[in-house]
Amino acid sequence: MPSFRGLRLVAAVAVVGSLTTACGLGGSSDETGGSSASGKGPLKGTVTFETLQLKPTFTKYVEGVIGDFEKKNPGVKVKWIDIPFQGAQEKLTADAGAGTLPDVVNLNPQFAQPLENKGLFVDMDSAAAKIKGDYVPGAWKAFTVPGRPGSYGIPWYLTSEVTMYNKGLFKKAGLDTAKPPTTFDDLLADGKALSEAGKGSFYGIHPALENRFITDLAKQGVPLLDADGKKWTFNTPEAAAYLAKLVKAYKGGVYPKDSLTQDHSKETEAYQAGNIGLFPSGPNFLTIIKQNAPKIAEATGVGPQITGPEGITNMSVMGLLVPKASKNQRAALAFASYMANSKNQLAFSKIVTVLPSVSKALENPYFTAEGDGSVDAQARRISAEQIAKAQSLVPVQYDDRVKQAVLAKIQLALQGKLGPKKALDEAVAAADAVTAH
């Protein structure tokens, strides 16, 4: 009996890709079977909606929107599942493998891409063609797969990095507290001044390679990936020159000693501890700083995103996707577009420093006025201004595995074990190897 089940299971796993569409959706039963997006009549059935760690802060908001939607569509019941970031990849993998993805799922492009590549999601270019024009083009484009037609998600909310800095430490280093750095060279120069003034008690910046390295190359005009999306191309002389600057900064003690391999969460900790003076990150981190280090939050100023000579800025996109396997696609689509409509996004942006992906909502005076003059208002205005010329610069192929492969070489370069050019060449080769498999 075990061996029989074993055989069946082996077979099931081996062909999982083709099975997913055949598998039912646990929890979301739909009596009408209206699985096509183009059905008619009132919406019915259950829609499961999965988000990435929005509880507890937004419980009220999300439940409010769900309540409104259910009132408008009395036949539909929305079931909300929030999953923590930690373990999200594994859960999604298991669900995708078993065909138990929810009807509407909240993903960022990097998470979504391998699933999109399998053709698991509804093409929004056609299914949601009516609303496509309402959204910031750069955000909509984030859910395309290179070399494949269509776009697979409705952009939900956006963030655009700003530069937070500790005015107290700026003063100690003799820097102008009203003038945060805006270019990469300024950033390194100010970082150096801060670290020298700190003499080991505080530093200028954290390299946060994990979070910024590849984005920073893109902002300086380095082409990351070829047109087919198969070969990495960031081993240019410009990139090598920039990496050489980072190497010099590391050697010169601009970064804290142990920061070489540390990620963004350690950088956040270090800023909150008053150990670093400059913190380029999403404006939503202002809330977190306030919670953990109120004194540092008081001393924090905000400047625009660090950019290269062309002033290209980056943005991060969160989207809502509907799996093709959903048995209730029509209601799922209706709910996703409702969640991401102008009114609901605007309300969302008022509880947290994120930006709406709907162009009309962005024009709201809330994002353009000085507001109450607080740091949050300033951060909101700055990041909203940036969005107009911002793009999602990091290609979706830059997933966790490519990132690991690339950073390993960059870390060695910073330690002086590999020359900048050689490190980049090896990084490109390693990244190609991962992307090819």
């Binding site: 089940r5 760690q53 802060t57 937004f58 939503n284 919670q291």
Partner: protein
């Protein structure tokens, strides 16, 4: 190593463990004994300092007032404005009691099933000779070696085909009895003197009778060890419950406290309070059970 080979036979020479042993005379309160006691406490405190760190940090962080710094080195251990409000925040944010109850159900079930099924299997492996025994040992050993990551997806598929996904039973079933529990019991039963049971055989007791009436009570120490190990494992497990469960109502505590840090919020004090709520029951349980670790062959049988 002559002693090695001779040793396992020795307990028998000293008589059956059920025999009353002389109450050890109270040690003379000599100066040497006192000095030894002092040295013992000094060592105890030294190891305490090495191990107490995480608990202390969590406790102190969870009690810190909102204005106090959490990060930074050297860590500031004493909260300046101690408050319990973060514990209230945890209770307000997540249904701690419901999640705790779910965890309790899974962990208690796991502890019971591990003790029961583990002791049965361990007894057979330690006390019976039969063809295929090595294979059985190998299978239990293998379950411990297999990296969970490599079977996670197949396991989930299986739960789905059994219609146990999104149930607490689905969370508990794969670890209902672990290779570790079986091996711990096998080890314990092996060190029991055979003579005890052989006496029972003469009494005409069957295999089952001997197991329940003689063998199992003699390894009570191991029963409590297996109970605490399986309880703690189930209580702490994160990835598997997260994958199996999709209904928030079925969440276990370890998964639930993840919601204390969100994409846009990350108050370390509240997270520490949540972690304390998850960890303290385990330490209390350990504190209550630790005296039983000793009730093995010797004392347990006497003092009952």
């Amino acid at each position: 190593m002559n002693a090695t080979t001779a040793a396992p036979a020795r307990p028998a020479e000293t008589g059956a463990p059920t025999a009353p042993r002389p109450v050890p005379a109270r040690p003379r309160r000599s100066r040497r004994a006192l000095a030894a006691l002092v040295v013992r406490y000094v060592l105890l405190v030294a190891v305490l300092l090495v191990t107490v760190g995480p608990f202390l940090w969590q406790l102190s962080t969870s009690l810190k007032g909102t204005g106090e710094r959490v990060f930074g080195y050297p860590p500031q251990l004493l909260p300046r404005h101690p408050t319990l409000s973060h514990y209230a925040d945890v209770v307000d944010t997540i249904p701690v009691f419901r999640y705790g109850l779910n965890s309790l159900l899974v962990a208690t079930g796991s502890a019971l099933s591990n003790c029961l099924l583990g002791s049965l299997a361990g007894y057979a492996l330690a006390r019976m000779k039969f063809r295929g025994r090595a294979l059985a040992v190998g299978i239990f050993l293998a379950t411990m070696i297999i990296p969970f990551e490599s079977i996670m997806v197949s396991e989930f598929l299986m739960m789905r085909s059994l219609h146990l996904n999104n149930t607490l039973l689905g969370v508990a079933l794969p670890t209902a009895v672990t290779g570790l529990s079986v091996l711990l019991f096998r080890n314990a039963f092996r060190s029991l003197p055979r003579e005890v049971e052989e006496a029972a055989v003469l009494d005409g007791a069957g295999e089952w009778q001997r197991f329940v009436r003689i063998a199992l009570p003699s390894v009570r120490g191991t029963v409590s060890v297996v109970a605490i190990f399986s309880f703690v494992f189930s209580w702490d497990d994160f990835l598997w419950p997260l994958i199996v469960l999709s209904d928030p109502a079925h969440c276990t505590l370890t998964v639930g406290i993840q919601y204390l840090s969100g994409t846009f919020t990350n108050d370390q004090r509240v997270i520490a309070a949540g972690t304390m709520i998850a960890v303290v029951p385990l330490l209390v349980l350990f504190f209550c059970l630790q005296r039983f670790f000793f009730r093995g062959v010797g004392e347990g049988a006497v003092k009952g």
